[in-house]
């Protein structure tokens, strides 16, 4: 069987189901609402694996699923050398979000990464600790800031409600996913003008490491033909 990994809940799951339906592949959840089991109709030899979107990159890289739907952001943050482990097949046109660096709107003196670096140096001298940036995208943020030459910052882990960390004084700036920017504005934050780390959207990926058994080749070819 070709294993297809799909986000297990919410809008991302519904949109994914819709997208596949438009390609004449019907995905559905089976059993009770709480049971993570699924079915595939309209194509033979494909089974559905419902997973948290955050786990799909790892499952693709381990070869436990052949195909998977998740965001570019998660693939690039969780998989080093991701190009060698997974291949993007189709951008799906939803789940669009930008990973950005944001600071308080009241920081009128900070608009660029260059400003952020200077503010971080002064902040460290004044407060005795580095300027803290709350995020769950540790690797992407660190690489982005290193390339930009920003020093004197520290990443603090934030797995949720990241926009609230500045007001709660557990961080001075954040790096997070935003789509409309409304949550940022509501929390008195603004995006740095050169603070776009990554544009992400839901994408269908193929694992480069998962073995496709001989009897499954026809099913894989059929899926690719339907999507193409």
């Amino acid at each position: 069987m070709i294993k297809l990994g799909v986000p297990s809940k919410g809008r991302l799951m519904e949109k994914t189901f819709d997208w596949f339906a438009a390609h004449n592949i019907r995905l559905s959840r089976t059993g009770s609402d709480r049971e993570y089991a699924g079915a595939v109709t309209g194509i033979d030899g494909v089974s559905l694996v419902l997973l948290s979107a955050g786990e799909i990159p790892r499952e693709l890289a381990a070869g436990r699923i052949h195909l998977g739907v998740t965001g570019t952001d998660l693939v690039q943050d969780k998989l080093p050398l991701w190009e060698q482990q997974v291949e993007p097949l189709e951008e799906m046109g939803f789940g669009e979000a930008d990973l950005i660096v944001a600071v308080p709107q009241a920081w009128v003196d900070v608009d660029t990464l260059d400003d952020l670096d200077a503010a971080a140096a002064a902040f460290r001298a004044t407060h005795g600790h580095r300027l803290r940036i709350a995020t769950k995208y540790h690797r992407l943020v660190r690489e982005f800031l290193r390339d930009a030459g920003v020093a004197d910052y520290a990443i603090v882990d934030s797995q949720g409600a990241t926009e609230g960390t500045v007001a709660n004084e557990t961080a001075e700036a954040i790096a997070d996913i935003t789509s409309s920017g409304e949550t940022l504005r509501a929390n008195h934050l603004k995006v740095l003008s050169d603070g776009l780390i990554l544009r992400s959207q839901a994408t269908l990926w193929r694992s480069r490491v998962a073995d496709v058994a001989d009897e499954d080749r026809a099913a894989m070819a059929e899926i690719l033909a339907r999507l193409g």
Partner: protein, 360 residues
């Protein structure tokens, strides 16, 4: 992978350094993550493995020996002192699966106030002897000359400090320099901020730890910076000439001495290089064939602040340096709690040496 041959080689090298007058030390494998983060910043997390327990909090598997050796010396070492050690270091790898995440290092560190040039030469010569026969190319540099050049720039103190802070990030250093020389345009947002007599008026409520005073202070600093004269073309050319010096030591020295006519601030540092060159000759090093690159060592971890050097396998650009070392006076100051001492040291990688010997 650590092999028996590599481990045997490591112990033999440590014996050699002990015979050269060093005391054998055994720094702990687990280091305080807080200290390393404070020294290196967030980048260390990309290079070191972090673990933790409830008692001591975050610990890192040692990414190098220098920091614990300096800590130990500053805490209870009598000077002068020479130390040697051998053991594993751990480097987290995120980009290149072919690079080792665990390998052996053997080091030799000198804490000595008497004669820095002689100590530099002692460490270099000892390393050169240890790797003799492996057909390695040596490269040398001197971060102190660069620092002196920046300190001598006729510009504001704030600009010099900003440049010094980024001396180890060549790209950012260049961007700042171009900005300070007026060669890149001022960003529109900066212009608007400077043109606005009351930039804080109507802005959103202030959240977080950074205060009004800090924001005001930076706005004032930006006004002062905008009023400062650009760094002159003449000074920029001199700095470029300096950064591009890449010759054998005697030629580099005469070139740098010529530069001191227009850059008097580097005179002392250049004479330091001359003294080191003499000390190397006294140790039997052939300086006529030894390369000096003014920009060498700028992309390493940021504790070297004077002499820097490395030995590389000729024709094996895929391998990291077999030996790397340098002077780190400022690190002793950072870790010394008020005390400081001139210090220089180097590490070599016995595993790579064994590999090169087997391949030779």
């Amino acid at each position: 992978m650590i092999t028996r041959e590599g481990r045997a080689k490591a112990l033999a090298l440590r014996d050699r350094f002990e015979a050269a007058g060093a005391q054998v030390v055994e720094p702990p494998m687990l280091q305080s993550a807080e200290l390393l983060l404070d020294l290196y910043g967030e980048d260390i997390r990309a290079r070191a493995y972090v673990t933790s327990d409830a008692l001591r909090g975050e610990q890192m598997l040692r990414p190098d020996f220098t920091v614990p050796v300096v800590q130990m010396h500053m805490a209870h070492g009598a000077d002068p002192a020479r130390y040697t050690y051998a053991g594993e270091v751990f480097r987290r790898q995120e980009d290149d699966p072919d690079r080792a995440n665990e390998f052996l290092q053997v080091g030799f560190e000198v804490f000595d106030r008497a004669d820095p040039a002689a100590a530099d030469a002692e460490v270099f010569a000892l390393m050169a002897e240890a790797v003799a026969g492996l057909n390695l190319r040596a490269a040398t540099g001197d971060i102190g000359i660069l620092t002196a050049a920046v300190n001598g720039l006729r510009t504001t103190e704030a600009r010099r400090a900003a440049l010094l802070r980024h001396i180890w990030r060549p790209r950012r250093f260049r961007a700042l320099l171009d900005r300070f020389a007026g060669r890149t345009p001022v960003p529109a947002s900066r212009k608007a901020l400077l043109a606005n007599p009351q930039p804080r008026l109507g802005s959103a409520p202030l959240i977080g730890l950074r205060t009004d005073d800090e924001i005001e202070a930076r706005i004032s600093a930006l006004h002062a910076d905008a009023a400062a004269k650009p760094i002159s073309d003449g000074e920029m050319d001199l700095l470029d000439t300096l950064l591009n010096v890449r010759e054998t030591v005697p030629f580099a020295l005469s070139h740098l001495r010529d530069l001191t006519v227009d850059m008097p601030s580097i005179s002392d540092a250049v004479e330091g290089l001359a003294a080191r060159s003499d000390a190397l000759v006294a140790r039997g090093v052939d300086v006529d064939t030894l390369d000096f690159e003014a920009s060498y060592g700028r992309t390493s971890m940021e504790y070297y602040d004077g002499f820097v050097f490395g030995f590389y396998a000729a024709g094996r650009a895929d391998l990291p340096a077999v030996v790397s070392g340098g002077r780190y006076d400022a690190l002793t100051r950072r870790l010394g709690g008020g005390a400081e001492i001139p210090a220089v040291g180097a590490v070599l990688r016995p595993g790579l040496m064994a590999e090169l010997e087997a391949g030779a």
